[in-house]
């Protein structure tokens, strides 16, 4: 893990409210271990927003690292105003990576909303490793999409309003394709309701599933104990530590579905 002052190489809007930013970040790129890891961004010196913002790594090529982000509030808005050549401080790479995707399994990659970044990253990795996989991408409507619905290539888009791809949530295509696949492994990242639906589906159907979860982070490096998620530990002892909760920044952000639950 390194704090690196990087230089912005590009910063472009790719869909409604969704931007892609590339950094010249040789040190973090060097330590980077794979899809799932994230960086903790400090967009400015402004103490009005004391905390860094975690962002999944969407790709690493040589010394160039990219993120895909959605404008939510002040900090992501400020991020969108940054210019090529501006300096920006990243802390990373942080967290664990998606595992067990290899030619013995059939990965189903599911991304929703801003949860696309690590999924697209894993998609690239599968592609490079020549592993056959399917991709399901969910969005509210077509404006938030920047990938084509392409069922022939097993890329399924869904929108809440049906404005593009299939109507409904990612569960619609998932339900359809799951039965046709041998040894499916699900890899998912997205908003909590989506993860919860996939989580329940995975447990019910006993499909090995890795979820990349989000939580509010104070530090990203294990100092604050703020970023916990509920562990699926049926019987924590009365006086226990880290049996009920797990630190997403140190132990995550990727969990086997059976290890966690959503309140």
């Amino acid at each position: 893990m390194i704090i690196e002052k990087t230089i912005i190489q590009s910063n472009n809007q790719i869909a409604e409210n969704i931007w892609k930013m590339q950094f010249e970040s040789p040190q973090i790129a060097e330590e980077y271990a794979g899809a799932g890891q994230f960086v903790n961004i400090l967009p400015n010196d402004d103490w009005n927003h004391p905390l860094r913002r975690p962002m999944s790594i969407a790709s690493v090529e040589d010394s160039t690292l990219s993120i895909i982000y959605k404008i939510f509030g002040d900090v992501t808005e400020a991020l969108s105003k940054k210019k090529v050549g501006d300096a920006i401080e990243l802390l990373g790479p942080i967290g664990n990576v998606f595992t067990k995707w290899d030619s013995n399994v059939f990965p189903i990659l599911i991304g929703g909303g801003v949860g696309l970044a690590p999924i697209l990253n894993l998609k690239d990795q599968c592609h490079v490793a020549d592993i056959d996989y399917a991709t399901i991408i969910g969005a509210k409507n077509s404006n938030e999409q920047f990938i084509d619905h392409d069922p022939e290539n097993k890329i399924y888009l869904t929108t809440d309003d049906g404005s593009i791809g299939e109507t409904g949530t990612v569960m619609v295509p998932l339900d359809k394709i799951i039965t046709k696949i041998d040894n499916p492994h699900i890899y998912a990242c997205g908003p909590e309701p989506m993860l919860k639906a996939i989580h329940d589906f995975a447990l019910k159907n006993e499909i090995p599933t890795q979820l990349s979860v989000e939580s509010y982070m104070g530090c990203g490096i294990g100092l604050c104990q703020g970023c916990v998620i509920n562990k699926n530990n049926k019987a924590p002892k009365e006086h226990s530590y880290h049996e009920k909760y797990s630190l997403v920044c140190l132990d995550g952000p990727i969990y086997e579905a059976e290890d966690i639950y959503f309140a």
Binding site: W47, P50, L51, I229, Y241
Partner: protein, 313 residues
């Protein structure tokens, strides 16, 4: 080279019998057990590390969400998640033997006996701890010692019971959520504390205006960060007017100028909290800056500056 500057005796300070290379410490709960950040920081430069609150038994802490950002601050309700004193003794104390940085153990309890038991357990083994900071002021645990923090006679009683059991530094950490922080500081001083530290977090709340949900599981949490610096400074200055023991200033410190303000207000040392989350090297950076600032100032050393704020009235 840099290392050398930081240990110039110029900026060394004494609290009780202990001397510290410099007055820049890191605050409890914001630097883990001191073992998490070394990859990113040269912890040996720090004046001291105050480790996170340790309770008698391990604690899971509160359910999420535990933190939320606010304007120039953050609210936390970690709920004293920690490994408990036994594991601290088994796993941490041996590590600290190999660290040259001074370590101060922060202790929290739900009643007097818990505090006493923890101190007794630590004192029954050999360790390099230089002292204890007693958390009587954590606002987000139901029985987190908050009773002590708002009452000066209970603070005094706790202090004197602990004083009997240790010769190490005994620092009582005061809450800002009281009508009169000075009387509580006096209680601690009169009962034998070596120093007081101020402030812990300020009770705060945050609601998601869209969903209507509390942003913190326990509803209330502790506000920290630059937002509370003026509150911490006022507390330190008021304490300095009345107390004769050293005061350790905490609250919203992010720069060497902030440190100067605290020292001028009456702090003999300071602790950096929330700023560590943004950059765990904040303290390290400040030490270098502070050396420079003192060098360029009319003061001979940090010690000379303590309490020297020029009041206008």
């Amino acid at each position: 080279m840099k290392r050398k500057i930081s240990i110039l005796p110029k900026n060394s300070i004494e609290i009780g019998q202990v001397s510290f290379n410099n007055p820049i410490w890191v605050a409890s709960g914001t630097f883990g057990y001191g073992t998490e950040a070394p990859e990113l920081v040269d912890v040996e430069k720090l004046g001291a590390i105050v480790t996170k609150s340790i309770t008698l038994h391990p604690r899971e802490g509160n359910p999420p969400p535990r933190i939320v950002e606010t304007s120039s601050g953050m609210i936390n309700s970690i709920g004293l998640a920690n490994i408990g004193v036994d594991k601290y003794i088994d796993e941490m104390l041996p590590i600290y033997k190999n660290v040259s940085t001074k370590i101060i153990m922060n202790v929290a309890g739900t009643d007097l006996m818990e505090y006493v038991e923890i101190i007794e357990k630590i004192e029954s083994v050999s360790s390099d701890l230089v002292g204890f900071e007693i958390n009587i002021s954590c606002p987000n645990v139901k029985k987190g010692g908050m009773e002590f923090g708002v009452d000066n006679s209970m603070t005094a009683e706790l202090t004197s019971e602990l004083r009997k059991r240790t010769d190490r530094l005994l620092i009582m950490k005061l809450s800002p959520n009281v009508s009169d922080i000075v009387s509580i500081g006096m209680g601690a001083q009169d009962a034998g504390a070596d120093a007081v530290s101020a402030i812990n977090t300020v009770v705060g709340m945050s609601i998601d205006s869209n969903s209507g949900k509390s942003n913190i599981y326990t509803t209330y949490g502790g506000l920290s960060g630059p937002a509370i610096k003026p509150i911490g400074l006022a507390a330190v200055h008021k304490l300095y007017q009345k107390l004769s023991i050293p005061i350790i200033g905490i609250g919203g410190i992010v720069s060497s100028n902030d440190v100067m303000e605290y020292i001028l207000a009456g702090a003999s040392a300071v602790q950096i909290g929330t700023a560590n989350y943004r950059d765990p090297g904040t303290g390290e950076g400040i030490i270098d800056e502070l050396n420079q600032t003192v060098e360029n100032s009319k003061w001979d050393s940090v010690k000379d500056m303590v309490g020297k704020a020029k009041l206008l009235s």
